[in-house]
């Protein structure tokens, strides 16, 4: 019922129907806020990278343009985007309530993400083996931190997907499960956006071809 500016006889003082807050909406909004705060962590690390991407801070060690490969990074980018696409197909299946479709989409997303992480971590290991580990210079410290921060997000997302696979099996598509799947979709796209920023800023602007 509409509110009144003047108190008349028909003034509504209590609203018994007001308790029905949209649960999924509040949770989604809260998750957006969390993503915002997480984005600021990433922003801080990227800002540090911008400061430390400098021969002075390389301390005689290599800068990105001496070891980064934009084409290899492009392969990784396609893996990340493919993983997001796979998860998106899962959410299409979710619309139809298709358990198998959701499961397959998520497994696909996990496999592509694991492949991505394999390439990324392999690169870091090779860099360390060549004597250019994270303790070599301020620049490399920040480079490793940036890549690992993104990788940790990915690892967390993979863990979340594994839990959700079990929950879909146990509970089916209950309100809670659906809310989590939708938040996970945002999270997965968020980590992909982080990678795109890293790829553009680190690999394309700072790296070699």
């Amino acid at each position: 019922m509409a509110s009144h500016t003047q108190a008349g006889a028909d003034v509504v003082l209590w609203n018994a129907s007001a308790d029905a807050h949209d649960n999924i909406s509040a949770r989604t909004y809260g998750f957006w806020l969390y993503l915002l705060s997480d984005a600021l962590i990433i922003a801080a690390v990227v800002a540090c990278y911008a400061v430390l991407d400098n021969p002075l801070n390389a301390a005689g060690g290599p800068l990105g343009n001496q070891f980064l490969s934009a084409s290899k990074g492009l392969v990784q980018t396609f893996l990340v985007l493919g993983s997001v696409l796979s998860y998106s197909l899962a959410t299409v299946a979710l619309k139809r309530g298709n358990k198998l479709g959701v499961g397959l989409g998520m497994v696909g997303a996990i496999l592509l993400a694991v492949l991505f992480l394999g390439i990324g971590m392999g690169d870091l290991a090779a860099l360390s083996a060549a004597g250019n580990g994270f303790a070599r210079s301020g620049y490399l410290s920040c480079f490793f931190t940036l890549i690992v921060t993104h990788a940790l997000h990915m690892g967390f997302g993979i863990l979340w997907m594994l839990v959700m696979l079990v929950q879909i099996g146990v509970f089916g598509f209950t309100e809670n499960v659906v809310a989590r799947l939708l938040n996970l979709r945002m999270f997965w796209q968020f980590q992909a956006s982080v990678w795109v920023v890293v790829y553009i800023y680190v690999y394309l602007f700072g790296g070699a071809h």
Partner: protein
């Protein structure tokens, strides 16, 4: 790759050994004895009165926003006491150690504290006062007040709210245990780089400071998310954005700061942690580290953090000034604009904390000007309060006295702040106690706002008022103490006393030091008055009515006193900015709902408490580099979160009959309270 540590390390206990316990330091032994006695009395009385189950069920497992708020406030008051004692030690040390030939006691060259110990004390004082006293006190007040002011049943995420509380407690515990196991940071509350790096600070002190800050700031970030979601999503029907009470608006602005600024601190501390634990070179001297990067990151958080504390205090003062002037707040829209403006400008002033560290005239000019701009919205607020009081019917009750004092202190702190924002002045007085006196005036504004708010909202939460006479004693002794400590400090700063030094070179400062230490003594008197106020009020327990001050205006005063756990039996429909004032004007303030509908409430849960304590164990293990324990407790936290996601318990439903029964009882309590209010004002309420 792990950074090598000084001294022994074992896989089982990490760096922890008996030598970590400072049993040779008489000051710490005395502190430990006091803490042990207080702890035993508390635990003993809980056991004696058989309240273990009650405390576990009703408090530690609670997800009720009011209980969580009260626990935040208790934590804040305990830590305020600890921070105060640190302050007393700083002042007494400097009062004794005046001049190069001043005597030394207890093995110190001057005074009674060796420099290394003195450094830890002022580092702890700053960290505790800002992070573990002011922050929990304000977060607690926000927790109690905001859901009531917006007419909600609880916060948007009650369970996350409890997690936030226990993460903050974990940080505070870490601070406290550093007294008796190991040491605290000696690198100031901001962490000076590269001094806080492993090369110059190989002990566990910096680790304690770092993890305490880290774990509690996680809690603060979660709380900010919760606050914003509550204010955006949980408002009662009819409460458009321009009917949101001014304190809730201030909390909104503060939560936006918390959400956006604290992650930067998280990142900066993570980098420092990587430097100290695995040997990266973010902030080291050499190897490509950049220690100016740290100070920029830190103050990118640190300056918004100042406003994070300031804005809720402004909101509290606004509510109180309006209530005790019996008038609507003057300039409500400008008040909101000012809050959001301060929050916004707070992002572009951080470099004024290090004007003297070499940044070039253009940057100095920008940050100097940006800092001065902060004065505009702050001035708007000060004038709005004054105009609210103008031609109002002012009641000088204790909350109002605190609020007026806050305005005066804001003027004092603000004008000295404007002086410091001019970089030429800052070059002269930087790192002198003039700066210390300036920001203490500002944090005293926060303090005054908190004391005003605790007195003002106390009856709403507990159902009885605090004793007015002793409240005024507390107020006047506190104000006198503040004047005695901080006015001479401005002078000492202008006379060249540097901050953070364990002794004074200039014997002519002795009278000022004696005035300051007298003020510290006065603070003890005010502490006594505060405790007496609590005890006397608890014993007397004069019941307070629905609106104990008679002139309150906002929604939270509409429900019963004390507030039932479901807040409002039926959610109120909001018709005006000051809903209660509107209902009073229309003769509707006594109206009760005719019928009740079932209410859905969240179930309490012990998991947040367990997660908080596991976080404490994890960070403690990280401080001492006990890798297995840190890993195990972190894993346990992750597993608990996963297990909880399989929990199908989605709260419980309170039936309409139960609510009707509870409401009937609460109504009787209110009637009794109203009866006692009929007695002549100022007269003694005696039992007949």
């Amino acid at each position: 790759m792990q950074v090598a540590v000084d001294g022994p390390w074992t896989p089982l206990l990490g760096r922890l050994s008996l030598e970590a316990i400072p049993y040779t330091n008489p000051i710490l032994i005395f502190t430990f004895a006091i803490a042990a006695i207080v702890g035993l009395v508390v635990v003993g009385s809980v056991l004696y009165f058989k309240k273990v189950g009650y405390i576990w069920r009703e408090w530690l497992c609670s997800v009720d926003h009011k209980r969580i708020g009260v626990m935040y406030i208790i934590l804040g008051l305990v830590m305020l006491f600890r921070g105060f004692i640190d302050g007393v030690m700083i002042r007494t040390q400097q009062a004794i150690a005046i001049g190069p030939n001043s005597p030394g006691y207890l093995g110190a060259a001057h005074g009674y504290l060796p420099p290394y110990h003195f450094d830890q004390i002022y580092s702890a004082h700053g960290t505790i006062m800002l992070i573990f006293a002011a922050t929990p006190l304000l977060t607690g007040l926000g927790n109690v007040i905001v859901p009531l002011q917006v007419g909600a049943r609880d916060m948007a995420f009650p369970y996350l709210n409890a997690v936030s509380l226990w993460l903050t407690v974990a940080g505070a515990l870490l601070c406290m245990i550093s007294l008796f196991v190991g040491e605290f940071s000696n690198a100031t509350w901001v962490g000076l780089m590269p001094f806080a790096e492993m090369s110059s600070n190989p002990g566990v002190g910096v680790d304690y400071w770092m993890w305490a800050l880290q774990v509690s700031s996680l809690g603060t970030t979660f709380n900010s998310i919760n606050m914003i979601a509550t204010i955006v999503k949980m408002r009662a029907p009819g409460m458009g954005w321009f009917r949101v009470p001014v304190f809730t608006w201030a909390t909104m602005a503060t939560a936006i700061i918390g959400l956006t600024a604290f992650p930067v601190l998280t990142a900066a501390l993570c980098m420092l942690g990587l430097d100290r634990y695995v040997g990266t070179h973010f902030f080291t001297a050499g190897m490509g580290g950049n220690y100016m990067l740290y100070i920029n990151l830190f103050w990118t958080w640190g300056h918004p953090e100042v406003y994070f504390l300031m804005l809720p205090a402004f909101g509290l003062i606004s509510e109180i000034v309006s209530t005790f002037s019996s008038k609507a707040l003057f300039g409500y829209p400008t008040m909101i604009a000012a809050s959001l403006g301060i929050a916004g400008v707070g992002w572009v002033v951080w470099a004024h904390h290090f004007f003297t560290m070499g940044m070039g005239p253009n940057l100095i000019g920008f940050f100097s000007a940006a800092t001065m701009i902060v004065g505009i919205p702050t001035g708007v607020k000060a004038f709005n309060w004054i105009f609210t009081m103008y031609r109002g019917r002012i009641t000088l009750a204790t909350p109002m006295l605190w609020a007026i004092t806050a305005i005066v202190l804001l003027l004092l702190g603000g004008i000295t702040g404007m002086m410091l924002s001019a970089s030429v002045v800052d070059y002269t007085v930087h790192d002198s106690v003039f700066v210390v006196a300036h920001f203490h005036c500002m944090v005293l504004v926060i303090g005054a706002g908190i004391f005003a708010a605790v007195t003002y909202w106390w009856p709403k939460v507990f159902g009885f008022k605090l004793n007015e006479t002793l409240g005024q004693w507390f107020f006047w002794t506190f104000v006198l103490a503040s004047v005695l400590v901080f006015i001479p400090m401005f002078q000492a700063g202008l006379d060249g006393e540097t901050r953070r030094l364990d002794y004074l070179f200039d014997t002519s400062l002795r009278p000022l030091m004696l005035a300051e230490v007298t003020g510290m003594g006065m603070y003890f008197v005010s502490l006594f008055c505060f405790l007496a106020m609590l005890v006397v009020s608890l014993v007397k327990r004069e019941p307070a009515g629905q609106d104990p001050w008679g002139t309150a205006r906002s929604l939270e005063w509409l429900t019963h006193t004390p507030v039932p756990f479901y807040n409002f039996a039926v959610t109120p429909q909001v018709h005006a900015l000051d809903e209660l004032a509107w209902r009073r004007a229309n003769g509707l303030e006594k109206a009760q709902p005719e019928r009740y509908v079932p209410i859905h409430m969240p179930s309490s849960s012990g998991l947040p408490f367990i997660i908080g304590m596991l976080s404490f164990v994890c960070t403690f293990a990280l401080v001492w580099r006990i890798w297995w324990l840190a890993g195990a407790s972190l894993l346990a936290v992750i597993l608990l979160v996963i297990i909880r996601s399989f929990d199908k318990n989605e709260g419980y439903v309170l039936s309409a009959d139960t609510i009707a029964e509870m409401e009937r009882k609460l109504h009787t309590v209110s009637l009794i309270a109203e009866q006692s209010k009929v007695l002549p004002v100022g007269g003694q309420v005696e039992a007949h």
